[in-house]
């Protein structure tokens, strides 16, 4: 850093001498600077993916981990999972959950964002601070807190529901087991994931709203536009690029949900598995690891996400064109 000053001072002299070297070097420089990053990304992210691709066509267990050569089994791992109705069940869970969780995250997050924009300065920072806590909570912590809240013995939610009048919510809540069926498990999971994800949406929407000129809203108000109309005719079109990015990012996040479900349903409730948990249980669930099978499942999930990511990149590129 300290050496930049003499270089600048020397530069004019070189230009007069007409040598091309100093001009060529800066062009090479940026690549040199970014090279370590590229190498790190390649080693840490790209290579494991290649490995997973290779392993999904192999049989890999403890013996192979110890150093024995892995046996190539062709498409056997994929044949097994595609012929297993259980795989399709987990895929269905994954997709349905993503659809519900993404919609809820965006709706709730946008509403909170709008609220933050309406609030006065102090209240706004207070609420923003509050939602940020949810965002900052590690997924493991959040999952444990939610499984306590929805616990069967001494869980706050069951206690509250039990206190409410029966004609409103029905009776027998004190012993209700939220984690017994996939539907109720996913209900808790959705609440937990949406709670954690909506602050990011809220803050992004807030940032977008701040960039919309206030005169537009004034004009809308003068024209007699209600909040609903204002949102769809003014706010939404203005923030559309942000919404598109948020949707795609949420889809990617919610497809990959693992930690929360792992803690809530655990390995005992296979009927509530999603793709990530299925892959984990195959690969690491017992003392006989089946890393090949796990890789095959992970590869399917990765391919699905790659399609979504491709969509994401396209959206980003298009945004660049329109601006």
């Amino acid at each position: 850093m300290l050496d930049t000053a003499p270089a600048v001072r020397r530069a004019p002299g070189r230009r007069t001498s007409g040598r091309a070297r100093p001009r060529r070097r800066p062009r090479f420089g940026p690549y040199l600077l970014i090279a370590p990053t590229v190498v790190v990304i390649a080693v840490l992210m790209f290579w494991p993916m290649v490995q997973i691709g290779i392993m999904s066509f192999q049989k890999v267990g403890n013996r192979q981990l110890r150093g024995e050569p892995a046996e190539t089994v062709g498409t056997e791992n994929f044949d097994k999972i595609f012929n297993d109705p259980f795989f399709w069940q987990t895929l269905r869970h994954t997709v349905l959950f993503a659809v519900v969780a993404v919609s809820l995250t965006l709706v709730v997050g946008t509403l909170v964002g709008l609220l933050l924009n309406k609030l006065g300065k102090r209240m706004s920072s207070f609420v923003a601070g509050g939602v940020m806590v949810a965002w900052a909570t590690p997924p493991v912590t959040a999952a444990i807190i939610f499984s306590w809240l929805f616990g069967t013995t001494g869980g706050l939610v069951n206690w509250c529901l039990d206190l409410l009048p029966d004609f409103l919510v029905g009776g027998g809540w004190s012993d209700y087991n939220w984690f017994a069926t996939p539907l109720s498990t996913y209900t808790v999971l959705t609440v937990c994931v949406v709670w954690q994800a909506c602050p990011f949406v809220a803050v992004s929407v807030l940032a977008g709203l701040k960039s919309v000129p206030g005169e537009l809203y004034e004009a809308a108000r003068v024209d007699g536009s209600g909040p609903w109309r204002t949102f769809w005719s003014l706010t939404y079109p203005m923030l559309k690029p942000i919404f598109l990015v948020l949707v795609v990012m949420s889809i990617i996040w919610d497809f990959k949900v693992f930690t929360q479900l792992f803690i809530m349903a655990g390995m005992a409730n296979r009927d509530a598995f999603n793709l990530s948990l299925y892959g984990y249980s195959e690969a690491f669930g017992s003392l006989n690891p089946k890393l090949g099978m796990g890789s095959a499942i992970a590869l399917v999930l990765t391919l699905i996400l790659l399609v979504v990511t491709a969509l994401y990149v396209r959206v980003m590129v298009r945004q660049g064109e329109t601006r």
Binding site: D3, G61, N62, R63, L65, R66, T152, T153, D175, Y176, N177, F179, A180, T181, A265, M267, A268, N269, R270, D271, S281, E282, F284, G285, S286, L287, N288, P289
Partner: protein, 423 residues
Amino acid sequence: MKYIKVAAVTAAIALAATACGGDGKDGDAGDGKDPAQLKVWMMGDGTPEQTKILDGVEAEFKKKHPNTDVQVKYVPWPQVATTFQKAAAGGEGPDVTELGNTDVQSHIEQGSLADITDEFKGWADGKTLNKTALGNDTADGKTYAVPWYGGVRGVWYRTDWFQELGIQPPKTWADLSAAAKKVQDSKKVPGIGIPSDQTNALLSFVWGNGGEVASDDGNGGFKGQLDQPAAVEAVKYYAGLVTTEKVAPEKYVGKNELEGPQRDFALGKLGMYIDGSWALKEMKKVSEKNADKWAVFPIPAKTGGNAPVMAGGSDLAVWKDSKAKGAAFDYITLLNDAKNAKIWADYSGFSSMRSDVKFSDPKLEVFTAIAGNTKFPPISAGWGEFEQAKKVLPNAVKAIMQGKSAEEEMKKANEQANTLLNP
């Protein structure tokens, strides 16, 4: 000038980095020489008492191996599978390790354990060890592990409630449901806790009805027996405690005995539940209030008598990558000698696998009686996957508790047994 500086800094960093990684030679001791360190893995959370007992063992160990430090690492049970996988892959394994007894065959099959046949033959105390448990530690005539302790399950109940209501400890399935119903009606708590994720308890009902998970198919493999009437009837009874007799609450569906029943029983919110001798100390941690009123009766068979119980427990083995096999086996024999085995049994509440060691606490005597009728699940390398990764029986029981047909679910479970137990 600046290039020289950069080069010097780079060289210095590189040197520092290699220096950090360059001390891999400390632990390597040749045969016959004592290693500087003996790594011992124990399963579970590791209490201060446990550490104290193991410190005592280390002190004795040091008399024979003065230059060796024993380093104990506790591996919590839920992390066991991944920790051993890492040990197999990275070579950062232990010298001596405790193993869950149902996992021993998987470890042998994967080649993770050292062959200790010769060392075992030279150990006089080997004769006192439980024969069935020892059978679980051998493969192809070679010994790979040594049985350490075992635990069996019984039904915990409240003596004060049973006395007040005039109930005798149940001897048959009918008695058990009746007792649960009586407690439930008068004490306004669920009669018995029947979680769906409790294979050990379920097996006692299957065996107590003359059923089996799988039988020997004559060719060294296993043939599933879960679709047979005896097993189906047992599972129907077990799940029926929740669904038809309604003496067990639905809130334990999808859970195991530690995720509710143990706590609820300790708090006086549950009439009975199935657990082992080690639960006493855990329940006291929850609430000491009624501890003197807790007692245990054996899980009844359908028509009377004690149902066979699964001996869950642990074994001791030498990890294959260990460079100090001799010292490692010495440690095992010390840990499992008559004196230390007794200390261990009294501390942990688990029965020793030595025939010459009994509990000191009279309250746990009933478990010694229960342990007189133990049985093993199929000794197959695939049991680990059947039980841990696929949770076949828990998921079948759960589905039945939620209204699916028992015949159908057990047929599916049996197909799984046929494939998974013959890996």
